[in-house]
């Protein structure tokens, strides 16, 4: 499974498909930090929110790099649909960690944030909170599941918009979407350790449910 993860990451980088989401991430970060120095903790909360669609899009691109027949060859070579599916999610998560590293470190290099370096930990936590759901949403929008480019884009955009709209304060169903908005509010307004744990549990459950749906769909869509 690790060999297939490495092969897929290699394909993602070698074909140049990794460039577009990286440029998108850098553009978003430039806009976010272009207005002047911000408090690191608060800025990272917003950064994780805007990174969500970029990470989901990056996942879709990574999973779509491989030709359909090669994906099937990998499934036969591994001898397990589950491990083939997991290798794709793992590769997407690894690529997402790279993008998150850029989102965390770049603002310090260019003086976009101020505060204690320990706020990097808060930043890492809140970005990791977005990574799982983003990988799951991106996977649900990949070609193997959605079949057409239009449907893939629709899943990606709808999921990203709903994550924000249903995450607003007073939303009737905030549990339907990953807790991105709640995490942003947490970093700007503060909260208890229990709140942080609840957010982490919510994000983990949402990721698990979406990844389970992806795996179910992919069992029949090689």
């Amino acid at each position: 499974m690790i060999a297939l993860t490495r092969m897929r990451l290699h394909g993602f980088v070698r074909t140049g498909r990794a460039v577009a989401p990286l440029i998108a991430a850098l553009a978003v970060l430039s806009i976010l930090y272009g207005g002047g120095q911000a408090e690191a903790g608060e800025a990272y909360g917003v950064s994780a929110l805007v990174a969500f669609p970029v990470l989901a899009w990056q996942t879709k691109i990574l999973l779509d790099v491989e030709p359909d027949v090669q994906r099937r060859l990998a499934r036969v070579a591994l001898g397990s649909a589950g491990r083939e599916i997991a290798a794709g999610l793992l590769a997407a998560a690894a690529a997402g960690l790279g993008t998150i590293a850029v989102a965390l470190v770049m603002p310090w290099i260019f003086g976009g944030v101020k505060g204690e370096p320990s706020s990097l930990l808060i930043g890492l936590g809140v970005h990791l909170l977005a990574l799982g759901p983003a990988v799951a949403l991106g996977a649900l929008s990949c070609r193997a599941v959605t079949r057409t480019a239009g449907m893939g884009a629709a899943v990606l955009v709808t999921g990203s918009v709903l994550a924000i709209v249903l995450g607003l304060q007073g939303s009737p169903a905030p549990w339907l979407v990953p807790p991105l908005m709640a995490a942003t509010r947490f970093t700007t307004s503060g909260g208890t350790a229990l709140t942080a744990l609840t957010l982490a549990a919510h994000a983990t459950l949402w990721t698990a449910a979406a990844a389970w749906a992806y795996a179910r769909l992919r069992r029949d869509r090689a």
């Binding site: 290699h10 394909g11 790099v65 030709p67 359909d68 099937r72 070579a77």
Partner: protein
């Protein structure tokens, strides 16, 4: 390996591509899969390989190591021939040394030496098909599935295919081969599965004496006539044009 009342369709409510398929492949057995274009041969082979999950029914006792050669190798991907084959060997669980040995062996056997460092998208169709064959053989398969393996190959490599099939079978592996070129005449003793109208008719390997009947048909009816003969379980050995016609 056993297909037990397997049904397959590609979407809910869509037409059944295959229905009520029950068949068995024994270790060491060779099966030639026959049928017209679009009859469902590739679908059947992908069910056997584990690429597709049956909509109904089940495939049981599939061996652990399966080699599948698709009808068209997907050359539109990153990497060189050796880079790709080493990566696929690693995916199959081969260590570095074993992967290097396996890649070297199959690169040499299939005449890919001159293409070792060539990028996959730059390969001709036939050379890409050889890479497809090589990736299936990196770990000795207990079940080898070849979807039109002779398609696009040069004469020298076409001659190698029966030897590879017989090698796998001699080792106790099972082999399924689809073919519409009549090349499977080179696989004596093979059983046949004929796919037509969504069903699969199985016939045991030829054991008794056979006769050769020469039949002349209009060139325009050739494809249909050959397909009909095969559907009826006859073995089409060769097709030639009549001199002076």
């Amino acid at each position: 390996m056993h297909l037990d009342d397997v049904w397959q369709r590609y979407r809910r409510g869509g037409p059944w591509v295959l229905s009520n398929v029950t068949a068995r492949v024994e270790p060491g057995g060779i099966v030639v899969v026959l049928g017209r274009n679009g009859a469902g041969k590739s679908t059947l082979l992908q069910l056997v390989a584990g690429v597709l999950r049956p909509t109904r029914g089940r495939v049981t006792d599939r061996p652990a190591v399966v080699g599948w050669v698709p009808e068209r190798f997907p050359a539109d991907q990153a990497g060189t021939v050796t880079g790709y084959l080493r990566a696929m060997a690693a995916v199959r669980g081969l260590g570095h040394a074993a992967a290097t040995r396996a890649v070297d062996e199959w690169v040499q056997r299939l005449g890919l030496g001159a293409f070792r460092d060539v990028k996959l998208p730059e390969l001709s169709k036939g050379t890409a098909q050889k890479v497809g064959l090589a990736q299936a053989m990196l770990a000795p398969p207990d079940l080898l599935i070849l979807d039109e393996p002779w398609e696009g190959l040069d004469a020298a490599t076409r001659d190698l295919v029966p030897g590879i099939v017989l090698e796998v079978a001699a080792r106790g592996g099972s082999v399924l081969v689809s073919d519409h070129r009549g090349e499977t005449v080179r696989l004596p003793g093979a059983a046949s599965w004929t796919v037509a109208d969504g069903t699969v008719t199985t016939a045991a390997a030829d054991t008794g004496p056979r006769c050769v009947v020469e039949v002349a048909v209009d060139a325009a009816d050739l494809a249909d006539a050959v397909a009909r003969l095969r559907e009826q379980g006859h073995h089409v050995l060769r097709v030639r044009e009549e001199v002076g016609s």
